[in-house]
Symmetry: C2
Subunit: 225 residues, 2 copies
């Protein structure tokens, strides 16, 4: 029982979900946890700010070591619990290199996804431009096509090959988020197949965003992408 | 001699510099390398695109494993050459957690720095707003103050404590870039002290951007930040 760990999280947030998947994969169940609502701005509440002065979720702690950055938390958990649960960094240098390459390319996918999905939230009304929205959508479309190509070429069911790895832990929530926001399964069949093939993996099923289960219909911002 | 490695790079680019510092720290000198000019748009040349279809530098390869993402390359090099050169991931769990936390917070610093420094380059003329520039500058100022606070509190000379680690490998080039673009040493004394204290570290000195050596005077975009 991971009683020396605490996770503050919000439902549907890819960064929170990453850490939850990593904890499941490493058999670190039973940690202290509390869900906060983004809609109610609870990520800016004193309880969260106290653990994460950036006012962001997740806020995560092992003993008194703070790991609020989701990639950092995943790397740390794998490093500290190497031989517990599933090994998340492949030994094979070729797979390991591909894993690191894809993991960090994931930041670009996240960035481009955020540019589109959070546009109105990030850009004040007087600064919005249709031309910017169009450019961001084109950039995200090109990016998702790139991942479609990666999944077409990879030899194995996972992002870095034959083994489920930190690339999947960190990228799966982002990819699920794309579909939650309406990405077309027809237009990106390899990305969709990857998304669907992992839905029932125990670590992913156990941590599926509760607000998505309650309300299975997502948004359609990315429908025509 | 690291003859099975190839690095295509550009002078002054923090992502390129990270990989070069990591290679020095791991005693991996003698790799194949070629410098390209961003000014001449050589990062979009066929030679670069062939190794990195994103048309970005660095482009890095070990054997035939591609690691174009600078964080990925650094992680990979440490993992594959653990016992060679300097160990870049501390064993102590507290230092290791702090290292991962700072490393990935570095993405936020990079992002906010880029929002300011590359504003005119990223935003087409018709979409520019003084209000956006002001907001980005305020966000970067708050971010650099946060790092000033981190360096005030840390017990040791490095970002994660007493040991030079991947946090320093990945963040030092970003911090040097801030000063290259005019950040005030007086207003951020701890960040400046950190920057100056590592200038003569062999891995950093050996990889100092050649264009900065040729032309010691940088820009002053961040002078009043």
């Amino acid at each position: 029982m991971a009683k020396d760990m605490t996770l503050l999280w919000g439902s549907g947030s890819p960064p929170c979900w990453r850490v939850m998947i990593a904890l499941e994969e490493k058999n670190l169940q039973g940690y202290n946890q509390k869900m906060f609502s983004f809609e109610k701005m609870e990520h800016k509440s004193p309880e969260v700010m106290n653990m994460n002065p950036r006012g962001q979720l997740p806020a995560f702690k092992h003993k008194n070591y703070v790991l609020n950055e989701s990639y950092g938390a995943c790397m740390y958990l794998e490093s500290q619990f190497k031989s517990q649960g599933n090994k998340l960094i492949p030994d094979c240098p070729a797979e390991q290199a591909l894993m690191f390459q894809r993991m960090f390319e994931g930041f670009t996918l996240n960035q481009k996804m955020g540019d589109v999905i959070y546009y109105n939230w990030k850009v004040p009304e007087g600064e919005r431009h249709d031309s910017a929205v169009k450019r961001y959508r084109e950039a995200l479309c090109a990016e998702v096509k790139m991942w479609e190509g990666y999944l077409q070429k990879v030899s194995g069911s996972f992002l870095a090959g034959k083994t489920f790895s930190l690339a999947d832990v960190t990228l799966y929530p982002t990819i699920a988020y794309l579909f939650r926001f309406g990405l077309s399964e027809e237009r990106y069949p390899k990305v969709a197949a990857y998304y669907n093939s992992l839905k029932d993996r125990p670590s992913i099923k156990a941590t599926w965003p509760p607000t998505w289960l309650e309300k299975p219909q997502g948004q359609d911002v990315l429908k025509d992408l």
